[in-house]
Symmetry: C2
Subunit: 375 residues, 2 copies
């Protein structure tokens, strides 16, 4: 089914190369000719697929009523067809094996191959919350600012926010559609797709004029996962299309990442499941994403840590004296000395130093913490 | 330092048993007498600690000016002293080794040992958000409703919300203080602690009258971690006291859990660090907590899954027909048949069934999805 659907785009090109009669035969032999098999097992597998493919052949033929027309129409509408072997072909799609698209229609200024060399897919629910779209846009902007291309599906919610964030950073972004590159779905994203064509590229496996179907969204998702070095799921309910993309990324051994969110909304539940299953790494910043998808050693994220506190600079004895002072109320130096385990002279010296540094103050009933130094 | 602090409580009891002169010697030998060593390595280690302890002896002696008075005062104020060997002693504290408290002052109706047999520590930031306190209270209420005791530190924020949730469920809850059980810190929690005494128990290593210090909070945290089968960090900034409790739970091989939250607030950052480091399991419901701390097989959480959708019940052919219908607009049955890879008769039969089930409708331009069936 997947292979049959994926074949749409290449048929026009094959016809241009081989003529209409041999086109389908070439398409089949190019991937599946049993003569290419290396051993007996390979041969059996190839034969089996050959038969499987035969079942789809009639359906294929019914669809390609006018492949040459498709190709001409695509060109007229500004889309170029990129196939394996072209300089613009992103070779990481070869990881899809037999599921590799036969070709991609591309419409936009950016070079598809170069744009995707350092790229991250940012995906998520269409019914996203403000939290989700904010995070998606900020991640995309930071990724773009560090030279990373953002890939997504151009849908409402997380996808759209990610593309917009990437555009704001001035770097290319790649929209992978489940319909022809000339079809604007959703239609409210016409301006967005127009901007992406200027700065990035809009791609699709399906020829111009093709409409989106539920199945095509699912087929499309494997390309989003395979094009990038890793996929970030920003928000996804327990049964979201974004989890389908996540599954592809995971099975392709791409980095899979998920953004945590409030457990009180359904729309992060899918992210939490991925994290709980150990499939996705919990990420909270663009730096953490780049550390995972970047080169080992070159793209390390700064370690998450709290602010350095003034008391970190104290020596051991002085810190013990400070910690021996009750959280509220004032205490005499003798009691403090005992609690800190130091003699009274040391305690007084330390208290003086602490007062000078603004940690404590001397009141009529003894020494007490100043508000800023309280735990 | 920790051992010196932890000794406060037991001194009064030891004096009552052995008389004032031998009390300290007994305390020291009870844990550290080199005569108990099993081999040469043990003996060397015991001797070293013996010397370490000697350094603290003078500070100890200075503090216990009136241990017998402490004991009498504690009893007068309603607190009982529980020491190892008593029937009320929670033996899981033995996992602390040398760091085990010498005794615990307890004030409340509930039996400490029984209350802690099935217990979870719920801890977190004092500067919690409404999201954090809501989650803490709901978790505690659900845990209580399933017969689990909630242990926490009685502080503002997460701690207080957890105790309140547990009280609402009608089960005992345990407050572990860093000051005497008669000292109300924070003072705004006087009503809360009063309610806990009626339904649960308030405990402390320090004798009645002791004030909280920064160090005592840190010492106290190991008891919170050791008393329960697992610790849940609901909210914690990157440098929160709750992370200290988490570290104790982790090094004691107790289950460590953390609740995810928005990455846009600082107060969940510590939770995310624990999850990223693989130290804490990401938990999103009380069921998931109980699965981790409960008996294997008996306390499984229901698997997180999305709602069952009507289309799950369709057979393969009908689903393919449904998925072949464009996401918007209407299409003729011939186009649908080709896209689904079925013949026209099958397509029409499936479309009829789908219309009867409410997935599609027939309009003048063909068949289209009804709004509820759109992807």
């Amino acid at each position: 089914m997947r292979m049959a659907e994926a074949g749409d785009a290449v048929m026009g090109r094959l016809i241009a190369r081989y003529g209409p009669v041999d086109a389908m035969e070439q398409a089949r032999r190019g991937v599946l000719d049993p003569g290419f098999a290396r051993d007996e097992k390979d041969r059996a597998e190839a034969s089996r697929r050959h038969l499987d493919l035969g079942r789809h052949a009639a359906a294929w033929a019914a669809r390609y009523t006018d492949p040459a027309g498709d190709l001409a129409q695509g060109m007229r509408r500004g889309a170029r067809l990129v196939v394996p072997g072209d300089v613009e072909w992103p070779t990481q799609l070869d990881d899809l094996g037999d599921g590799r698209p036969f070709g991609l229609w591309a419409d936009g200024q950016a070079n598809l191959r170069f744009s995707c060399l350092r790229s991250v897919s940012v995906v998520g629910a269409r019914a996203a919350t403000a939290y989700g779209t904010t995070v998606a846009a900020e991640f995309a902007m930071s990724l773009g600012g560090r030279g990373w291309t953002v890939i997504s599906g151009g849908a409402y919610g997380i996808d759209g926010a990610a593309h917009r964030g990437a555009l704001a950073s001035g770097t290319p972004t790649v929209v992978v559609l489940a319909c022809g590159t000339d079809t604007c779905y959703p239609s409210a994203h016409e301006d967005l797709f127009h901007a992406v064509r200027q700065q990035g590229v809009v791609i699709s496996e399906w020829p111009p004029g093709a409409h989106p179907t539920r199945l095509r969204f699912l087929i499309r998702n494997r390309v989003i996962a395979a094009l990038s070095r890793g996929t970030v799921v920003v928000q996804a309910a327990a049964r979201s299309g974004a989890l389908n993309t996540a599954t592809h990324a995971w099975s392709l051994n791409r980095q899979l990442m998920a953004v945590p969110g409030p457990i009180t909304t359904d729309v992060s539940a899918g992210c939490h499941v991925l994290i709980r299953q150990g499939k996705a790494v919990c990420v909270t910043s663009a730096e953490e994403i780049i550390e995972l998808v970047g080169s080992i050693g070159d793209d390390l994220a700064p370690e998450q840590r709290g602010p350095v506190q003034p008391r970190d600079g104290l020596n051991d004895e002085t810190r013990r004296v400070l910690e021996a002072i009750p959280a509220r109320g004032a205490t005499g130096p003798a009691v403090i000395a005992v609690a800190a385990g130091v003699d009274i002279g040391t305690a007084l010296a330390c208290l003086g130093a602490l007062a000078a540094a603004g940690f404590v103050e001397n009141v009529d009933r003894g020494w007490r913490l100043r508000p800023a130094a309280r735990r």
